[in-house]
């Protein structure tokens, strides 16, 4: 399988995760009996998408990135695209993964409808997932630009 499949799947699953997190956030803003089931299903989509993004992105990172892209970036004019952007991305992803795994647990609390604090909790976690996926997208763009700069400088 071409290695590009893994990196493109990583971005696609991440984007689905972000969209699902926005969905959960908006539904939670107007939470009522009728949309609780949707919130529960979409929180699973968030967790599943972020996990798939982590697994395929991680496979690409461990198997291919170090031997090709990293070498090109470090030899090019934007070495910080690896030394800063990639290093931060690969480790902040653990924070995102833990939050996305916790979200389905938070929305399954039986007190979700009756207690306003639970709504704030779901808004906080889904909002953080949303922002962190967007940050991952931004870092991903910087890494791609770093590789492009490296190739152009050859």
């Amino acid at each position: 399988m071409p290695k590009e499949v893994f990196i493109l799947s990583h971005a696609v699953f991440g984007t689905i995760g972000a969209l699902a997190a926005v969905w959960v956030f908006v539904e939670a803003l107007n939470i009522h009996q009728e949309n609780v089931t949707r919130i529960k299903y979409m929180s699973l989509v968030v967790a599943l998408s972020v996990w798939l993004s982590y697994l395929v992105g991680g496979y690409f990172y461990v198997k291919f990135y170090g031997v090709t892209d990293k070498t090109i970036i470090l030899a090019g004019p934007w070495p910080w695209a690896h030394k800063f952007a990639m290093e931060v991305k690969e480790h902040v992803f653990f924070i995102l993964l833990v939050l996305a795994t916790y979200l389905p647990i938070a929305v399954r609390d039986p007190h979700l409808l009756g207690e306003k604090g639970n709504k704030s909790l779901v808004l906080t976690v889904s909002g953080l997932v949303m922002l962190l996926v967007m940050a991952m997208d931004g870092y991903g763009a910087l890494i791609i630009m770093g590789a492009k700069q490296g190739l152009l400088a050859r």
Binding site: V98, D109, K116, T124
Partner: protein, 102 residues
């Protein structure tokens, strides 16, 4: 105080905050201590893979343990939201600042 959280929500919520800080601190320790980084790499073939497996294992184990200590009797959801938000900001700052100065 009337409970406003289920025990799993309280336990895994606090575990989320603790693990976010621990995984960020582990990154700093791992990057500073090359011996530990090499040991991590030896365990799974790559230090990042081992770091990820440890993070998830610790999250599950800590979440299950904290779910047993009746945290929901002392904590409410708003307090948990503030703790998770603070931990995420702190964890993000630890990772970002470390690589800015490293």
């Amino acid at each position: 105080m009337q409970n406003t959280l289920s025990r799993f929500n309280a336990g895994f919520g606090l575990a989320t905050a603790i693990i976010i800080i621990l995984t960020s601190v582990l990154l700093v320790i791992k990057e500073v201590n090359k011996g530990l980084k090499g040991w991590f790499a030896g365990l799974s073939g790559h230090h990042w893979t081992t770091h990820g497996v440890l993070t998830i294992l610790a999250f599950v184990i800590l979440g299950l343990l904290l779910s047993q200590i009746r945290l929901e009797e002392k904590w409410d959801a708003k307090k948990l939201a503030v703790v998770i938000l603070t931990a995420t900001i702190l964890g993000g700052l630890i990772v970002t600042i470390f690589f800015l100065v490293h």
